[in-house]
């Protein structure tokens, strides 16, 4: 792993590489993703794309309860957090690569723009990216340029929204039932209310 690290630092610079929990993360700009991936595949021997997923950092580091001790004791109100402690970029695409020949792993992370979450598709580099990119598009709304079949994959036909985004409610937007008079299935606004059983607490 040390050897790989040195090579990566040489290729991508020291700033791009993060090591944590014994894993390497390479953070790259989204515009050069295909080039980076080709480099990783051909020169570093990462022959398999194990996983590809989108991450939404919208509520990163926010908690339902502010549990820090202050002079007036623990505050137990749900705190609305301002924009200042938001994560810098909202969306990231994360690639997990595996080199079967060299027995190495690496994680490649690329942030994409919030308003236009577009990144080049890596289907030309690894065939397995096809469905993973469809999944990231479906659940996270990230668009993959040059992907030739970017359809929804996991959600229902005609589904609206991207369910793994943090602003998509846990209970969903619509519910479905069979309407006797119309003789078909109809969609209506959800009638249940969101319920947090265990609040989200951050303890440092």
């Amino acid at each position: 792993m040390e050897e790989l690290k040195e090579q990566l630092v040489e290729e991508f610079g020291e700033k791009a590489l993060v090591e944590a929990f014994g894993e390497l993360t390479l953070i790259v700009e989204s515009y050069g993703i295909v080039k980076t991936c080709l480099k990783l595949r051909d020169f570093f021997g990462f022959d398999t794309l194990i996983d590809l997923c989108g991450v939404d950092y919208l509520t990163y580091g926010q908690s339902d309860w502010d549990a820090s001790a202050s002079s007036s004791g623990f505050s137990r109100a749900r705190s609305a957090q301002g924009d200042e402690d938001r994560h810098e970029q909202r969306f990231a695409v994360v690639y997990h690569l595996l080199s079967v020949s060299k027995n190495q792993r690496i994680r490649v992370k690329s942030y994409v723009d919030e308003d236009e979450p577009i990144i080049k598709s890596v289907t030309g580099v690894w065939s397995s990216a096809d469905w993973y990119e469809r999944e990231a598009f479906d659940l996270m709304g990230i668009l993959f340029e040059n992907h030739n079949d970017l359809r929804r994959i996991l959600t229902d036909y005609g589904f609206v929204g991207h369910p793994l985004r943090k602003d998509f409610p846990m209970i969903g937007e619509v519910e479905m039932r069979y309407d006797e008079t119309l003789g078909r299935v109809v969609y209506e606004k959800v009638s249940i209310k969101p319920n947090i059983n265990v609040p989200r607490v951050i303890r440092k």
Binding site: T48, S127, W131, R152, I153
Partner: protein, 417 residues
């Protein structure tokens, strides 16, 4: 002359050979498949979204429900991700118990696969025999966790409780005579470990039975040999792992290449195929069952001789002893905090993978320091395998689609998540 065009056939989602809720849109020219477009997501339950809304320990049960024929292996990946982030030490005995149950699970999975695969291809009896053995292993699940399928047995820091000293026995009822009852309970007189040891002793004969029924069977070979051939390079390109990759001749097994738990201390072999067709993958999985059986025997031997704790004594993540809670304030607080708020992980991200019976099952966990995961991404092996469906069935006959679904070992719980 009328023009002959391709036609489109809808296969599933309600079809016994679709192994759950797979909907395939097949474009067929005569009986030859030109294109296959799997529609998935009919079993999508939003496991990742649900896990984001719950404290870490409350999602272990969801992991069982992903690949619902290899429950404990899923849990293993998830608890390992948490343990890595907490840098938590797991007692040796717990690791052996986990490995033993991972291998029991592997046999459970492969028996299910073998039975249904053979059933799809036209051999009814293997299914019945496979379920005979599965029943015994499921009883082991029940003995250790109280549940026959969704065990929720692994915990960050170990396993929920130690193996029971007594194997549960069949009870008397109106439908069985005393003599029958005695025969049924014959191997259940001792502990769970004795029962498993007895199973491991008998199991090679059972495998031999399946072997006799299938391996040289003319129909079986006609249906499997040279069907769905995948080259080693294509297999890696398409993200294959597990038996699907090994069937194509690549020696890759996380248990050997990136050992976790105690796999580095155990002796076992990795079978690989040669041609990469369905028959090779069948042989690989059959041999894997034999190897798993040998691993189980080794684990039983260790566990019988080495008692010890099975759970970390870090009470931030593991519940304190009930007795201590009666007169120890700290234990009571630990218990209360653990079961209400849970525990927080340090900020960061981790990917932990295990060699699941179907391939590499990984959990990518991002934590922002809260008591719930910020993002959980489950890497299911079946997802990548099913994605290759189009390439694998192209040019094959309609009946071979069924063989290829079987050989891919598709389970929708993990694919749809």
């Amino acid at each position: 002359m009328a023009e002959i065009r391709n036609y489109t056939l809808n296969f599933g989602p309600q079809h016994p050979a679709a192994h759950g809720v797979l909907r395939l849109i097949l474009e067929i020219n005569g009986e030859v498949i030109e294109r296959a477009d799997p529609h998935i997501g009919l079993l999508h339950r939003g496991t990742e979204k649900l896990a984001e809304s719950k404290p870490y320990n409350q999602s272990i049960g969801y992991m069982d429900r992903l690949d619902y024929v290899s429950m404990m292996c899923n849990e293993h990946a998830y608890v390992m991700a948490i343990e890595t982030m907490l840098e938590l030490e797991v007692p040796e005995r717990a690791k052996y118990i986990r490995v033993m149950f991972d291998e029991i699970t592997r046999i459970l999975n492969h028996l299910m696969w073998l039975g249904t695969h053979a059933l799809d291809v036209g051999a009814m009896s293997v299914f019945l025999y496979a379920f005979r053995e599965r029943e015994k292993l499921i009883d082991c699940y029940e003995a250790v966790s109280g549940s026959r399928m969704h065990a929720t047995y692994y915990r960050p820091g170990g396993v929920y409780r130690d193996l029971p000293d007594k194997m549960p026995q069949y009870l008397k009822n109106d439908f069985r005579s005393d003599k029958e009852l005695e025969a049924m309970n014959e191997n259940r007189q001792g502990s769970l470990l004795d029962f498993i040891a007895d199973f491991a002793k008998e199991f090679p004969q059972s495998i031999k039975q399946y072997d006799d029924l299938l391996t040289d069977n003319r129909i079986w070979k006609q249906r499997l040999v040279n069907i769905g051939v995948v080259s080693a390079n294509r297999a890696k390109q398409m993200g294959f792992t597990g038996p699907m990759l090994r069937g194509s001749g690549v020696t890759w097994d996380l248990r050997k290449n990136q050992p976790y738990a105690v796999y580095d201390k155990l002796d076992f072999d990795i079978p690989v195929g040669v041609t990469g067709d369905s028959y090779d993958r069948y042989l690989v999985r059959m041999e894997e069952m034999r190897q798993s059986n040998s691993i189980i025997t080794q684990c039983v031997e260790y566990l019988q001789n080495n008692p010890g704790p099975v759970m970390s004594d870090d009470h931030k993540v593991s519940p304190p002893k009930r007795n201590n809670m009666k007169d120890d304030m700290e234990s009571l607080i630990h218990h209360f905090k653990l079961f209400t708020e849970g525990y927080s992980l340090p900020e960061g991200e981790v990917y932990s993978a295990v060699e699941h019976p179907k391939g590499e099952f990984g959990v990518y966990l991002i934590s922002d320091g809260a008591n719930k995961p910020y993002r959980v991404k489950i890497r299911a092996p079946g997802f990548a395998h099913l994605a290759s469906m189009d390439e694998m069935v192209k040019g094959h006959m309609l009946s071979d689609v069924v063989t290829i679904i079987g050989t891919q070992d598709i389970v929708f719980g993990e694919i749809d998540r």
